[in-house]
């Protein structure tokens, strides 16, 4: 992209500067909410007023002594890990089936997979709630995991499918010709080739599950997840301990993004 079209994109100084400035301002606008959350987490005043006053770690101490917060965090991590495992595993199987085979019902599955992504929202959440009610299943951690896996797995399918579509099938065929059975071919040829996509999908699934609010809100029952607990705090009480918790939560996905950026450049591109 860089220099190829220099002739066309030769810039007259000012236009370019203003354009660049606008993009920088836009970047600032996107990052502002995160910066604000973090700043208040270290702010010594207990009111969320601008300008901020001094520096303190008090809110982190408070957050760590909040047993419900810790419990909710534990639940969210557990739900996130289990969801990630099933979403990535089942998602891989579906992606493989969709890419490599033709079968009855394939269209339906593809459509359901995409619809689950684009219609995800309060409607899906309450529908699952109604269904669980009808089945007599009350809320809890496992129902939340089922809800999460159902609606997060489709994202994994998209990522893994893209990778499967873009590698040389001849490699699989060669293995088969050399006498490997389908299972061995998958394990020894396909799996290593799609491993980066699997890892990217897994990171992606964990991040979504960890921050997911709507499904968890309706399916968690008497338990708590982190977003559900924070939602309660944000609506009623209002101390910067919320910001401290938020800061810790934020650092997690940022870490994930950095990992992705470094190791999975290709898979990231497949997401856009």
């Amino acid at each position: 992209m860089p220099d190829a079209g220099k002739r066309v994109w030769r810039q007259t100084g000012w236009g370019r500067k203003i354009f660049g400035l606008y993009v920088a301002a836009y970047l600032g606008y996107l990052l502002l909410p995160l910066v604000i959350l973090v700043l208040y987490a270290f702010n010594s005043s207990e009111y969320l007023i601008w300008p901020i006053k001094g520096f303190t770690l008090r809110w982190f101490a408070e957050a760590f002594s909040d047993s419900r917060l810790l419990k909710a965090t534990g639940n969210s991590i557990f739900i996130g890990l289990v969801t990630t495992f099933f979403s990535t595993f089942f998602g891989m199987l579906l992606a493989y089936g969709l890419v490599r085979f033709r079968f009855r019902g394939k269209r339906l599955l593809e459509t359901l997979n995409i619809l689950a992504i684009i219609t995800y929202g309060v409607v899906s959440a309450v529908s699952v709630l109604l269904w669980f009610h009808a089945l007599g299943i009350s809320g809890g951690i496992w129902p939340t995991i089922i809800g999460h896996t159902t609606f997060i797995m489709p994202f994994a399918v998209m990522v893994i499918r893209d990778r499967l579509l873009n590698f040389d099938m001849a490699l699989e065929e060669a293995a088969m010709d050399l006498g490997a059975n389908p299972l061995h071919t998958f394990r020894d040829v396909t799996l290593p080739l799609i491993m980066p996509a699997l890892l990217a999908a897994a990171l992606f699934c964990f991040t979504i599950s960890f921050g997911e609010f709507l499904l968890a809100f309706f399916l968690i029952g008497n338990e708590l997840t982190l977003p559900v607990y924070l939602y309660g705090l944000m609506r009623f009480t209002f101390t910067p301990a919320v910001n401290a918790a938020a800061t810790m939560i934020i650092s997690l996905p940022i870490l994930a993004v950095i990992i992705v950026a470094i190791f999975f450049r290709r898979e990231v591109r497949s997401l856009y």
Binding site: L37, G105, L109, V126, M234
Partner: protein
Amino acid sequence: MPDGMMDSSKTPASDRRGPGPAGSGGMVWLVVFPAAFLLVVFFLIPMFVALRYSVLSTMPFFDPDPSYTFANYIRVLTEPIYLRSFMRTAGYAVTASIISLVISYPVAYYLARRARRGALILLVMLIPFWTSIILRVFSWKIILGSSGIINFLLKTAGLIDLPVQLLYNRTGIIFGLVYTYTPFMILPLYATLGKVPRELLEASEDLGRNKIQTLWRVTLPLTRSGTMSAVILVLLACFGDVLSAQMLGGANTLMISSVIFETFMGGANWNVGSALSVIVFGTLLLLAAVLTWLGREVEHA
């Protein structure tokens, strides 16, 4: 982000590439079964469950033998609170997607065409969207508050004496919607802008058109379908939005999804809630159909 699917070229590719073992039906189903089970049992069936409850007079756990009725739909269509919040949601969704388009298009253009490391900058830009939506919305609540940073800056600049009310009204919600659904706008735009062949732009300039003319006559028409897709994705997201309305809006700015949310949260009439859900789901399906149609159009172009 769900935009892998925006690349409409992938669907036919899967059919082309996967001619292979056509039959072996049973085996394939063994492979796709877990995912198919989840999608059918916990996505498809619940939709029909909601559809059924929407035409029942009461929930089966109150009366094991409820009668079928359209009363819930009639109520939804006649009680002003429901109709108004639906229309309001449509209005907010359109407003938010237009604002989002206007502010994001130049950035997507810059990243796709000018920047050296467009993809990387985009990744950094989208970091906030990897965090829980609830935190982002909460942060806007702090920012827009009467003692928040925006009011502080306006006051310091001498533009206002008293804080401007940016929260618990339409302004707050629009801020929330525009911000929250940025990725749905900028990722498809970036993808579609990246696909415009450079030769066409060069040709246009060789023929003596300036940059503005090239943008207007070449780039915009070529990216029309992609742009429409981005707008529809944002519309879809706005219709499903609960948290912006819940945390940044007020009593007079209820949005349809947050009405559904509160209906089910508060144990109000679930049958009416189901009818609302069905109507919203229908709207989402309609938008999704337009989206698919646009995707096909891109393919044929």
